[in-house]
Point group: C3
Chain length 660, copies 3
């Protein structure tokens, strides 16, 4: 496993660079990422490039023995450019144009921004693309960060109309696809079509979904423009730093043309932010807040970020920014106790990462991220983070051996951004969240030491014994056929609520529910509804450990070919299993609690003939890579983890590795 | 009682229409409402009307035996019109213009929107006005829905100035009416007068109230334009579908020129929305949340919507849209258990409705209301709602007999939108809400089986034994005289806090409080004030069951001619009774709790010589129409209701009818 | 002590004026403040002044024996002016221009507003400046009130660039001062610099701080323009009415050119508003809400407003508006029980006020402040407030004797708006508030009867035995030297968390923390961090009564020359004392709770050789002025206050005065 660090030479005097480079190498770091915000430094005046400083920085860093990753600086166009072309600035849903002074202020659909972006990327590529000291490139930075995925500028409006025209051909086809006859929305000319900004009260959900897709496609095409410019100029890898459970762009689409995926892993901040939807108020979970994890983030939440990033390309990934101390963008920004940074690094490795790049070398003395800590302190003394990187020096050999082993999972959890967006647009019940619906199963499996891949519908499913697809919301025939083929070949497929409800343009199916999936399910959904907090419908089942009641959302099932495994107290089926070819489809009719998901998962693993699950102690995780078992203990007390029959004592906030 | 359903033929293939029509008739439905959102279908291109589809729809529906109600489609102007005239779009308080893509996006003060609205209404009237299969018309749809009553566009600004000039004549008169000398607001030219949008920090409350009145008048005049166009063209009835406790328009003014009033009754959504002000946080109520009603709404909240709609014209009303399953516009949108739709229908009948039109026949497959259920399911199979309509077929004869009887109430609760708005503009104490002040008495009476009419100040009060006017906030001499005359003729009148405080232009009176009402009250209000949560002033009284303390808001009374019935612990009078002619005026000096309101109501009923009150079980309601007593049980258990001496057992979520 | 009242003759018929004037004099009032909102009355048409009414008002009031204070009416420019020059209107952070209809709607950087402001001030000064009946002037009204300190109009943008150019000279110097190299913010032309409004997502904190300073300076210069116009025209005093703990303007800067400071004291409203930051949610305090004070405000919160106003000029101050009954701008606006207005007046006197002007004589009958009570009722009868002023007539002689005595404090609490703003811009931990950090010490000292001055860094510190400077956040060398000199001369100085972290342009220091203060502290801050709610680090110390744990925010100290007084359970120092010359610097490494602050304060007072502290009963305050001890009891029960050895029984909501 390679380790690296993010560095901003432009923010420090050149005399300091060799000192920093030497300290990095001494700490055992292999790589350094630079330049992704330095456009104004590379091109201080229009067309007048200045490369001397960057040449010198590369010389210094590479000279000390570090491999260099270059970022294209397009997320921060310089002031002379935005001042000259204010039309390139993003516009929010209220119609207000962003201003210079932060980042991500330009719209990826702005023609002039694209021209200048391509120009600076090409200029960088020409100068550094063939430099063997540059091992690879990061395009831009955190696409869509700070909720910037969706813009409402005039360029976007025009591009959206073009996108729609390409998709639908005629306004009449658009009207059909959106059901625009409703409320006389009918369009007779493309120019009448609006962006669904806040000036439309309750926009048409088909319009919204298409707009979400268009925004995602806009980033895909903006990235492709950079790829097209860079690829011919460099043999190095090209990647992008994604954001884990970030929801506003289709990360599968973005990852497709990249060499591998990376993500920015901030366990405390991500946990604080993602828990708002993973653990919604009135949430159907029985798991307490993991208080031991106040300074480490929730390890299962973090793990889902790893697993999704691994699934983006179905192969090893990098952590391109790894939290290395306290952050500045949360609400609390708590300190991080000793041992945590090391544990985060091990966690990444255990989940399949092949490199980990710490953010950042030294805290900035100025501007927006002053309070964000780093491996050094502001005064250049070592901070806690660096001490932990030092500690890792003794473990690097073992880490390398583990990194060489493949990460393999028996279970897949299917993720689809169209489904996610459609449910975000119409949650119907406050707090209903697609990712939480996935998370409840991910959590159940993690607590049993079962590895899970998060992959898209078009992944190769044949390698999995169990595939979980909690909400296949707007499937087309291709998706249904793929799922059918998987089950028919002997697989075990789980489906859940709100499946098959919609068509690909976000209309409701007029078939009996679950629409195209009914044959697979072997039952009809005869009713669906949410339940208020405090109201639930008792379950009756013989499945071991499956107890309690359906809450939050439930659907009644009338079996056609399936056999019921559980019923509501009303007598209607709640859970059914349908034989499909040599496999089976299990459909759960309610939004399960954590405990229910564990019972279901345990039963499904057994049914699928997967490796038997264990029960990990709260706050502990365990993974296998090849012959290695890696057990992580995030709590403050020693814990015994039984993996493969051999109980292992793992110290407080420590890791234990066993080789079979 | 007639039953009907809302139908959108434009959203379904014409081949389906006869099937739907047949099913409607088989379900016992008498009527169908159509067309109120179909402008783009009637006039797909400017001036090019297309009536064939609507002719065919009317033929099909009427041919099957259904009476047809036509809606004018003005709430949804087509895209070609809004694109051509963007100046017709509504502007919100932030200055942002609405866009096409939803409904209610045009401003009723827009001259061009008025021209086109009148044109389409006249065209419809000319084609269908004399058609005997069309029994009547609904103008537009839910005026002001989605908080659209108030617009801030340039056309509104101009119209507001015209409205003010007509009301006040000169800027100096306006300055006097608004007290514009305060903070140098003084206007010397009409052009200086602004709409009180959010760009004015803390607007003048007289300006605000006049703006609220102007907005209401704008809808009145917009509706009148449609009435003027339609009346000469049709002998059918003309109505509008109101929204119960909706607060932003004066529903009495709007109802005046209509033939009768109707409303859209969504018990679960309305309860969720209205409880925010009927049961405010820190509310002075002792009534628990009626949890049994989680899927039925709070029946007393629903009942207040019925009672107000009945009061709009002082005669039988319709439910023009009746919830028939789960909805899509609430926060939870819970499912509805069997029996509820039937009970809602009976409740409407019991409260004086003579027709009930279910919303809607089949759920839309597209656009904003996809998740709103209907009598059918999306796949055209019967939903729970239709099964309940079927169940009603056996009861239609009894329902018709009851509907033929008059609804009569001994008690009136006076409602005035000027009072409501003035208190909304200046609540003075967080959570003080005019309608909640009314509701506490309505609730008390409903729980005793006492019928209540909600009527305006200019209603004929002589028919009531008891008139409750909890806040007569900005009375003029006419209102005072009307109340005086009622009491003098032997009536019993209740007044409450914040009465007589203001003048009609929302200035404070300079007379001793309660201003013009002081002679009626027979006491002076010597102080008024709010109390923080947790602070209260104990009461001392001999009135039976009147216990506890004054909280929230209280006023001290110094009797002139009145006699005290209760005192605060400070010794000042809290409740007084004043003889007026052969009647009396009782004034309560604090904002009572539910329990206190019940004690007051019981005492007042006795004092007024009204029928003795009973104590209904929680969750049950009872009504009389002519010789019939209708008892409704919204709970999940059987309940015994004692009405007229004869105890009746009513099943869970059931209705029982007795004939005297 | 002089008493006065605010009066608005323009709001009442002239015939009423002599009655009011007589009643004021009979109540013992000495002064009356008028005219500060009456621009439209003075100049109803452009350039056409009308003074007759004001002449007559002055004649009437002065004729009755009242001294007159005139306010310049610039906070309320007339409608003809704003209509003619809409470019003078303020623009909010969303880019929306204010409108006429309220107050403070013009921008102090608007050139045209300045021209007209100067004109009306000069006109008033010429007419009334030499009139001996006018004893003084109030400039404008509540600068920045209603969160209007910061404007985002084009005039502000231009003025900000001018301000920056004057401060920094070149864009390059600005780039350095702001660290604009970060995220390519680098400016190459002044025109590129933007106001940090909401269109910039997460603005640069150096840019923000400079903008806050610029806004404050804008008010300072606007006030100076009025001072320059008035001074030559009048021998009377000139002041302004400040707003206590108001945070958006530097009140020290504004007070500098004034003759003395005054403030507007609304104990109930201020308590409600300021408690949101003085007692934040999850607050590190152990003090219950003082419920006895529901109608009186929290006396310690009120006291901090007095102390800060006294510190603005380091001399006696006035209360220019004193709440005299219930208000209208809070959330609850509770009533005020008898005795409270008198107690508030005594409290002001005890804290060093030499005059108290009640707001207002009679409640307005119209416009925004209708519900704000006054000394009279709306109907001109005496309200509770007037009865209390009457009661004071017997005490005026004693009050005058006390007012003649100096107010002296042994303890200073240092306040700096740059520090406040920097922490407001980057709280880093939700709820971290600079003023709360000060308040915890102020509260501790008040509860011990110890007088505290709130003064700026450049005050004469030599008169204090103890100086508390909880957060010296962005000190320059001058501040550090001043603090060093104070300690070296034998003083006792307390420093706290987040000290020395920043440079004056809001960059982080690159020195070991606490930066420039390290020599004074005698220790290095080796780590700093926040703690989530519910997480704390136990303390180990021998300091009496200092117990519990560090919560919320804590920093570890590594002593250089200092000696540790307390340690965290991790062993690192938490509290250190460093000898400096003949004095000492004590540094506390965490954000203390109320109880911890009391223990620290008691220990520090002893260490500093200050008068020994007493323990006052909850809800009581005690002050000394010369030979007088004034004990105030805000509770509802009699309390015994031991001051100077002699226990005094103070009645409920009463005051007791003892002369040594």
């Amino acid at each position: 496993m390679k380790l690296g660090v993010c560095y901003y030479p432009e923010q420090w005097p050149a005399e300091r660079w060799p000192v920093d480079a030497r300290l990095m190498v001494e700490a055992g770091l292999d790589m350094v990422r630079i330049a992704e915000f330095a456009w104004a430094k590379m091109e201080p005046q229009p067309g007048a490039y200045e490369w001397d400083w960057l040449d010198h920085a590369v010389d210094t860093l590479a000279g000390a023995g570090l491999q260099v990753i270059l970022g294209t600086p397009t997320v921060t166009p310089p002031a002379w450019l935005t001042a000259r072309h204010p039309e390139m600035l993003r516009v929010d849903a209220n119609g207000r144009a962003r201003r210079h002074g932060s980042r991500r202020h330009a719209c990826v659909n702005s023609p002039v921004y694209r021209v200048h972006s391509e120009r600076i990327v090409r200029a960088m590529g020409e100068r550094y693309g063939r430099d063997p000291r540059i091992i690879g490139w990061q395009i831009d930075n955190e696409f869509g960060g700070g909720r910037t995925a969706r813009c409402y500028c005039d360029a976007c409006a025009a591009a959206f109309r073009t996108w729609l025209r390409a998709r639908y051909g005629t306004p009449d086809a658009l009207n059909d696809a959106w059901g625009a006859v409703f409320w006389s929305q009918t369009y007779t000319d493309w120019a009448q079509v609006q962006l669904p900004d806040e000036a439309i009260d309750k926009a048409n959900p088909s319009q919204q979904l298409d707009y979400y897709r268009f925004c995602s496609d806009s980033y895909v095409s903006y990235q492709q423009m950079q790829l097209d410019a860079l690829r011919p100029l460099t043999p190095g890898f090209i990647t992008h730093n994604f954001m884990g459970l970030y929801r506003d762009l289709d990360q599968f689409d973005l990852a497709r043309p990249l060499d591998f995926a990376t993500w920015d892993n901030y366990p405390t901040g991500n946990t604080e932010r993602w828990r708002t939807f993973l653990y919604p108020p009135g949430r159907p979970t029985d798991r307490d807040d993991p208080r031991y994890a106040w300074d480490a983030g929730d390890p299962i939440v973090t793990g889902m970020g790893h697993a999704l990033t691994r699934g983006l390309k179905g192969k090893p990934f990098w952590v391109m920014e790894q939290q290395s101390g306290l952050i500045n963008w949360g609400k609390i920004n708590q300190g991080v106790r000793p041992g945590t940074v090391r544990l985060w690094t091990w966690h990444a490795l255990a989940e399949g990462a092949e490199a980990c790049v710490y953010f950042r070398w030294r805290p900035t003395l100025f501007a927006q991220e002053q309070y964000h800590s780093a491996l050094l302190r502001h005064d250049a003394e070592p901070a806690q983070g660096l001490r932990e990187v030092w500690a890792l020096r003794n473990e690097r050999e073992l880490m390398a051996a583990i990194a060489a082993e493949p990460f393999a999972a028996d279970v897949a959890l299917l993720v689809d951004y169209d489904d996610l967006w459609a449910l975000e647009i119409q949650p119907q019940r406050q707090g209903f969240h697609y990712l939480r619906h996935l998370y409840v199963f991910y959590e159940a499996l993690q607590r049993m030491g079962v590895a899970v891949d998060l992959v898209p519908y078009d992944a190769d499913l044949s390698r999995y014994r169990l595939v979980l697809a909690p909400t296949v919301h707007l499937p087309d025939g291709g998706v249904v056929e793929r799922l059918r083929a998987y089950a028919a070949a002997g697989g075990t497929l789980l489906l859940g609520v709100r499946s098959g409800f919609k068509t690909p343009t976000n209309l409701v199916t007029d078939r009996p529910l679950p629409g195209l999936l009914r044959d697979l399910v072997g039952a009809t959904v005869t009713s669906w509804q949410s339940l208020p907090d405090g109201v639930s419908v008792p379950l009756d089942t013989a499945m071991p450990d499956l107890e309690g009641a359906a809450a939050y959302w439930y659907e009644t099932l009338t079996p056609l070919t399936a056999r019921p495994l559980a019923a509501y107290e009303t007598g209607e089926a709640a859970l059914v299993e349908n034989g499909v070819g040599s496999g089976r489809v299990v459909t759960v009719g309610w939004y399960p609690s954590s405990a229910q998901a564990r019972a279901l998962a345990r039963w499904l693993l057994e049914r699928a003939g997967a490796a038997p699950a264990v029960e990990l102690p709260e706050g502990c995780l365990a993974f296998r890579r090849g012959p290695y078992t890696i057990a992580l203990n995030f709590t403050d007390e020693p814990r015994t983890v039984a993996l493969g029959g051999e109980p292992v004592l793992v110290g407080p906030r420590d890791v234990a590795v066993r080789r079979r």
